[in-house]
Structure formats: structure tokens, C-alpha cells
Subunit: 324 residues, 2 copies
């Protein structure tokens, strides 16, 4: 961790090596899952899981108390830092978005205290490269954690992609999120794979065929992102005997991911000195593998990182910069 | 109707004015509805409706017999000509697609006799302007009917759009469909409006706000069709207080239709002499009105025609050209 000893009114203390000298509770509270960590000197000491904020609803506070009672009983009152959809309109309280550019310092200065001792990391907002307002909530903490875990990404300008339901493409400059762009890729795939004419009902499952994915990705990349007139191709190829209906989902997945990377690379051009040429892909290895393959069709190099520890590292990085 | 008296082996007869001299049954059999017409000299003499082919399933023949029994009882055996999804994989029998370029003559020569006296108009296939295989089934009969009803469209090259679940953009040259392009616009809107994060559950209804539609259409047109990175804007604007959640569907509708027309105009450029500048929009007035507005943002003139009578006119036009 960075050496960033707080002084004066700060209630959190750090030793000379930048290690926290007291315990706190870090919480990754998304729509579907809650992961609570007892964190502090020497790293995570305990972990407990709970229901997502969509389920917890109006009882977030009681649930937090219940799940952390053993830790508080042992260690006394502990500061709590939460990130994710807990701070959204479906969460405990809706925290205002922090405008980009923003990094760990800015996030640490903009925590919302939802009740004494419990703070929530705000989401980020920006005007994205298409000129539209854009938002993220939860991914800002992943990004900050990624930078904490990979110091080399804290220098220079990097394009970082977090694929998923709402894929986020973030341009990070010297450790600060400058701007970002959301693509509806994962949600669009789920809707089309699960309930459209493109994939016949018996075959509406997770795609698995690598060669067919690649065919779709080639078409998606060729679209440059103009996917509305490419989607029906998934059905027409079946009607014309050019695509096995059982593989329709794999083709569709390639089409969407290919369109995603082609448009993103066009929105964030790697012109001379603008950003590092290598795109950083963060997430589940299976998914980042698909994105890496689609990027390779554009001859864009990529680096794949597992995002597993990023939220916890991000919460720690924000905690370090907080006057608590 | 065109003067096209058949001779020799033809079983259908025409008088010297191109009017049919005997009765036949015309059927528009789509996924959800069946419309049967007793047609012939002087026009439609009777009509009966029935269930769509998705419901009729394997009993299409029996259903047809049952619904037309009174007509046959009165007039004796009658030839039957059907169009639509009745000829698809979910239909009575799957008719092969006819490759473009194709017009009424070609369609009339490629009817599939599903049983003695009952024929189905084939769908059309092409390689579309994106280089992909594309198909239509039912719309070919609408297009032929449109040309029959509007003779001025039978000369020169025209871009004709049939908006809907699967919007079809067809390039028609001297009465022949040269090529066409499907956009998944209607189905995509229905899926996203009905079940995505873009439109909050209480507001998942048909869009109605004209000003918000126009805002979305401006953004969609500006995308040039690259919609994957624009869709999330519908949600982000709500999060940032720039879009009333109750109007999210109207914005989304504009976004998709704007992207549809922008990409279609780019795929079918109206370069010198290539095609008439005016796009012909065929369909429900409310929907063609939205497409006309989106086209106007690109300064593309359009002409709106109600598609109500097109299928019947198309069946008649094909019938005229059939050796029966």
C-alpha cells in the first residue's frame, strides 16, 4: 500500500510503512451479493457473505449489524467502508456521483456517511466519448484497486476494460479516471440469447463454441460497432444453412463482443502518445479471453488481469486516503 | 392489374382487360394472424380470419379447409395462394427462399404447391449490403403489392422501408427487389423496453412522448448506427437527472429508430442516379411517422404509405403471373 499517513483530525492511523494500524470492515455490496471483510494490519482476517442489496432492501443497516456483530464483539466499534450498488437508487442510500476526472484521493474525500461510522464510496460520472452522460458504480473501486495492485498502471495513460453486463471502458491517466464509456454488451447478449428470434428456444444456453465465436467476432469487428443491422444475420445464417442453430449463441456472442471492441477502440484511439497501445482487460478469465480474441482481430494487444481482488484492494486504497 | 393473359396450360384465365375471370382464395398467414380473402373479378367478395400459423401448427390444412368450406360449397374447388410465415420452419411447410434479384414474375414461377391447388409464395434471400446472408418472408408479397398499387414505384430505383419487429430496407429496381437489409429494430426495442435496466419496471409501456423521441432520435442518428455504446445513455441520463424515467421508453425508441435510419441510409447511399432520394416508408402510420421524423434529421425526404392492402395486392399480382 502507498505510504500515506494521515494526521491531525484523521481517526485512521498508519505506521511508517503505510500499513494500517487498526482494523476496519470493507464491504463489496452489489446487486446480488454482499462480501464483508475484516481487514487491517496483515490483510484480511475474516470474511462473511450476505445477500445482495436488491434483496436486503430497506434492511441494509440491520443486516450489516447482524453480519458484523461477532467482529464488533471481539474488536469493538469498527469503521465500515462499502462500495457497489449499496450506494444506488436500489441501495441503502443513493450517493451522489463524483465527476471525472477522479482517482483514489477524490473518492476518499467524497465518501457518504450513511450513518456514524459507515461510509459508502460514490460512483463516478463523466461525459463519455460519444458526448453522453455516463455513470459507473462499483467499478470505480475495482479500478482504484487494480491500480493499487498493479503500480505500473498508475503511470501514463491506459485503456482499461471491465467486460460484463455493462462493460466499462475507462481511460486512466496517472492513476486518475479521466473518462469512461459503457457498452450494454452483456445485458444485450443475455436478452437476445434468452428471448429473441436469433437463438431458437432449445439452444438458449451459454455459448461455448470457439470457432463460431470467432466467426461472429469477425463480423462484429467488421461492423465497427454498427450492430443493429448485423444482429439479424444470426438468424439469417441459420435459415440459409450457414450456422448450426445449436451454435447461434456463440455467433451472437462474437458479434456483440466484436462490435464492442471495434467501437471502443474507435472511441479511444491509441494515437501517438495518447495512451498505451495495450488494452488492459480485467475480469473473469473466460470473458477477458473472449475480449482478447476480439481485440486480436484488430491487431490490438491486450493484457488480461483477474479482477478478483480488485474491489478489496480498492476499498483499502480509498481507506488509506480517508480522514476517518 | 397488369394485362397478362395466360394461355395454354394455365388454369387461370384473364379477360382482355387483365381482370381475373375466376375466383381464388388469397391468404395472408403470419405468425399471429390468418386473413383469408375470396378474391377475383371485381375484387374481394368475402373475408374470414383465423389463428396465426404458430397456433395452427400441424393442422394448417384442416384449418384452411374448415375456414373456406362455405366458399367452396358455393363456388366449387378454388385455387389457394398463401404468403407469410405459413411457408417458414414454424409453418405448414418450409418453402425454399428465392434468391434476389426477384420480382413478381420470379415469385409467381417459384410457388410451392403444398398440396393440390394450394400454393405458397416463397420468401426472398439475398446477400445484404453488410455482406451477410439475409432473408424475408411475407414482406416480399407486401413489396410486390406495393408496386402493384403504386405503379410509379415500378420504374427506377427506390429504397423502400417496412419498419417493424424486423425492419426491412429493400432496394427495388424497375419492379424487382435487388437486395435488402434487415434491422432488428422492433424486436430490440421490445426486449430492451420490456426487460432491461434502461427502462424502470413501472414505465415499461409503449412510448408516447414526441419531444423525448426526437431527443433520442438525434442521438441515434448521430451514432451512425453504432448503437451498442449508446444504449446505456438511456439509463445514465435518468441517473443524472437528464431524463424522466417515465419517458425512458420514448428516448430508447428514438435512439433505436435514429440508429436504424442512419445506418440504412449509409448502407444504401443515394449517390447520383443510384436511387430516388425519397425513401418510401410502408406500414402503420404511427410507426412510419417516427421513421419519417428520424429521416428528417438526416435531411432525407420520405413518403409514407399505409401497408394495409399490400399483401392482398401482392397475392393478386403474383396470381396474375402464375400458370395455374
Amino acid at each position: 500500500m502507498r505510504d500515506n499517513t494521515t494526521t491531525g483530525q484523521g481517526r485512521m492511523r498508519w505506521d511508517g510503512n503505510g500499513e494500517m494500524t487498526r482494523l476496519y470492515i470493507a464491504g463489496d455490496w452489489g446487486t446480488s451479493n454482499l462480501r464483508l471483510y475484516l481487514n487491517g494490519p496483515g490483510g484480511v482476517q475474516a470474511r462473511v457473505d450476505g445477500p445482495g442489496i436488491a434483496t436486503a432492501g430497506g434492511k441494509a443497516g440491520e443486516l450489516l449489524d447482524e453480519l458484523t456483530r461477532p467482529w464488533v464483539a471481539q474488536h469493538g466499534s469498527l469503521p465500515v467502508l462499502l462500495a457497489g450498488m449499496v450506494g444506488s437508487s436500489i441501495g441503502w442510500v443513493q450517493t451522489p456521483y463524483l465527476d471525472c476526472p477522479a482517482g483514489a484521493e477524490a473518492l476518499g474525500s467524497a465518501l457518504l456517511e450513511v450513518r456514524p461510522g459507515v461510509r459508502i464510496v460514490p460512483g463516478l460520472a463523466c461525459v463519455n466519448p460519444t458526448g453522453a452522460p455516463d455513470v459507473m458504480r462499483g467499478e470505480e473501486t475495482q479500478l482504484i484497486g487494480l491500480l493499487a495492485l498493479h503500480p505500473e498502471l498508475r503511470r501514463g495513460r491506459h485503456l482499461i476494460c471491465l467486460p460484463g453486463t455493462h462493460a466499462k471502458w475507462a481511460l486512466v491517466h496517472d492513476g486518475v479516471v479521466e473518462t469512461f464509456q459503457t457498452a450494454l454488451s452483456g445485458e444485450l447478449f443475455a436478452l437476445l440469447n434468452g428471448g429473441s428470434v436469433l437463438v431458437p428456444p432449445p439452444h438458449r444456453k451459454a455459448p461455448t463454441d470457439a470457432a463460431t465465436f470467432r466467426q461472429g467476432a469477425e463480423r462484429g469487428v467488421a461492423s465497427g460497432g454498427a450492430i443493429l443491422h448485423r444482429l439479424f444475420e444470426t438468424r439469417a445464417r441459420q435459415m440459409r444453412g450457414q450456422l448450426d442453430p445449436a451454435l447461434a449463441g456463440s455467433f451472437l456472442s462474437g458479434l456483440i463482443i466484436g462490435a464492442d471492441v471495434a467501437q471502443a477502440i474507435s472511441l479511444f484511439p491509441a494515437t501517438a502518445g495518447e495512451r498505451a497501445a495495450t488494452v488492459v482487460l480485467v475480469g473473469e478469465p473466460a470473458l477477458t479471453g473472449l475480449y482478447a480474441e476480439a481485440l486480436s482481430l484488430l491487431a490490438v494487444p491486450s493484457r488480461r488481469l483477474d479482477g478478483g481482488d480488485c474491489v478489496l484492494a480498492g476499498l483499502a486504497a480509498v481507506m488509506e486516503r480517508t480522514q476517518w
